[in-house]
């Protein structure tokens, strides 16, 4: 027996998650074999329909993935935040720090500074294997697992400053220590990978690390290693990686005149538009437009920009006239990179990581087969 194929209306109904004033409806995915009698719902990659881009800047991208289940979209999001490796300062060797900021606080601050460098070089870098409790031995620092930065600053009086100068940055030299003062010293093969624009450097040169006064100094060596966000947030390559479902607004019965204006105000600008009721609509009996020809009616212009605040559901005059929802399989992603990788590359990396993990576990299964 050929599997039943549900009607387009039925499929569309299943795609929408209902949003009421206080509750949600039609929440779980039902696209599994055996859920709907007679329908197939077996695995098919062509269920993934398409990708739509909304924005693609170097460090911020927004795009829609359409035709995906939440479990897979969520896997991509989680991988973006926690499982794409980056480089960050891990070990801090303080030779001198007479500034007012404490050693451990300074070390923690330094760790959080996002670093950039040649992507090829970062991919070439390997994990720094730490000593484990079970007696695993630590790798020594090598050119392929450790990048060395130096911070060597001393503050002293600026002899040429004006007598009545108040600004400590002019009164003293090196009163402020910035991320740009981190000096990269390539060793071994790092000299080939991290050259020119590919050199290891902070993404944002103007991050303030510490403030000093004359006589104070900071001297330290910083070891950067490769790591993932699951281990520590400083390794996360994204500032934000989030998705939301596409909002869906259905006006079920006409909203006309002053009501239409009030209705539009319940939504962000541009979501609801006002259009005059056409004479054809007014002529149609039972449409709700009879006798309202030429008046303004509310129409949905741009559901994408809605925030689904549910404000319109608080007003009695719109009761039963509007239905809010979200499209179950339309994920609007927003990815903001911290600067080590381009935002679109990050998403591709996330997909690659998921595939790599699957592949790795699949290989592990061959031992179970024996």
């Amino acid at each position: 027996m050929a599997p039943l194929v549900p009607s387009q209306e039925e499929l569309q109904r299943r795609r929408i998650i209902g949003i009421n004033a206080e509750t949600v409806t039609n929440i779980p995915s039902t696209d599994f074999p055996g859920h709907w009698p007679g329908e197939s719902h077996g695995w098919a990659v062509d269920e993934f329909q398409k990708v739509e881009f909304h924005r693609n800047d170097q460090f911020e991208a927004s795009f829609s993935l359409i035709g995906l289940d939440a479990s897979v979209a969520n896997a991509f999001r989680r991988i973006l935040m926690a499982e794409i490796p980056t480089i960050a300062i891990e070990d801090v060797f303080i030779h001198n720090n007479t500034s007012v900021i404490q050693d451990e606080v300074l070390a923690q601050r330094l760790g959080l500074i996002p670093l950039k460098g040649s992507v090829e070089g970062i991919n070439w870098m390997q994990w720094f294997k730490k000593a484990t409790e079970e007696g695993g031995e630590e790798d020594g620092p090598c050119d392929f697992n450790t990048i060395v930065l130096h911070l060597d600053m001393e503050c002293y009086k600026n002899e040429h400053a004006a007598k009545d100068e108040q600004d400590p940055r002019k009164l003293y030299t090196n009163a402020h220590v910035y991320a740009k003062d981190l000096m990269f010293t390539p060793v071994g093969r790092q000299e080939q990978y991290f050259v020119g624009d590919g050199a290891i450097a902070p993404v944002n040169p103007d991050i303030l690390i510490a403030k000093m006064r004359p006589g104070q100094a900071i001297q330290m060596e910083l070891h950067c290693q490769k790591g993932i966000g699951a281990d520590h947030a400083k390794f996360s390559p994204v500032a934000t990686a989030s998705y939301r479902l596409l909002p869906d607004i259905k006006i079920e019965r006409p909203i006309i005149g002053d009501d239409a204006k009030k209705f539009a105000k319940c939504f962000p600008k541009g979501v609801i538009g006002l259009e005059p009721v056409t004479s054809a609509e007014a002529a149609q009996r039972g449409s709700g437009y009879e006798g309202h020809s030429g008046e303004q009616k509310a129409v949905v212009k741009d559901a994408f920009s809605d925030t689904v605040s549910r404000e319109c559901l608080r007003h009695d005059e719109f009761k039963d006239k509007v239905k809010l929802g979200r499209v179950r399989d339309h994920f609007i992603f927003n990815v903001e990179s911290t600067g080590q990788f381009d935002s679109d590359v990050l998403f591709l990396e996330a997909v690659k990581v998921l595939k790599l993990k699957c592949n790795r576990w699949k290989r592990g299964l061959t031992d179970l087969m024996a």
Partner: protein, 138 residues
């Protein structure tokens, strides 16, 4: 089911003894050290697998992929305790396949999906970049 528990035993000890370090080493030693174990009480068509170092990321996506298999009667995943990094997947199938095959198909399906997503993502991006580039020139 004492019989099934017993029959599974040699399998498990073999996994424990032989898996580490003998696999083909990929570029990710951290990933390579982890292992899969079949939990006691497994039969051919019903088994629980334990994945070391995995979480909801893989667990939920894998559960979805396996549930999409018509020969699978039940699939669920759990992280029994949040403080040890272990993820369990339970699979029960009809007689037409085995739990292990269903698991492998799950991985294959997810990998196929990754390929499709990558392909559609890159082409959509390239098209978007080309269009916005044109707009800037005008």
């Amino acid at each position: 089911m004492p019989e099934s528990v017993h029959s599974q035993d040699p399998d498990q000890s073999m996994v424990d003894a032989e898996q580490p370090e003998q696999e083909v080493v990929s570029n990710d030693p951290i990933l390579e050290e982890r292992q899969v174990v079949v939990l006691p009480g497994a039969t051919d068509t019903a088994a629980s697998f334990q994945f070391e170092g995995e979480g909801h990321t893989m667990g939920n996506a894998l559960r979805y992929a396996i549930m999409k298999n018509p020969a699978v009667e039940f699939c669920g995943y759990t992280i029994p305790h949040p403080s040890d990094a272990k993820m369990h997947v339970r699979i029960q199938t009809t007689d037409s396949t085995t739990a292990l095959e269903a698991l492998e198909k799950g991985f294959n399906d997810l990998m196929d999906l990754c390929d499709v997503v990558t392909e559609k993502f890159t082409s959509a991006r390239d098209q978007f970049n080309a269009e916005s580039g044109n707009r800037m020139e005008v």
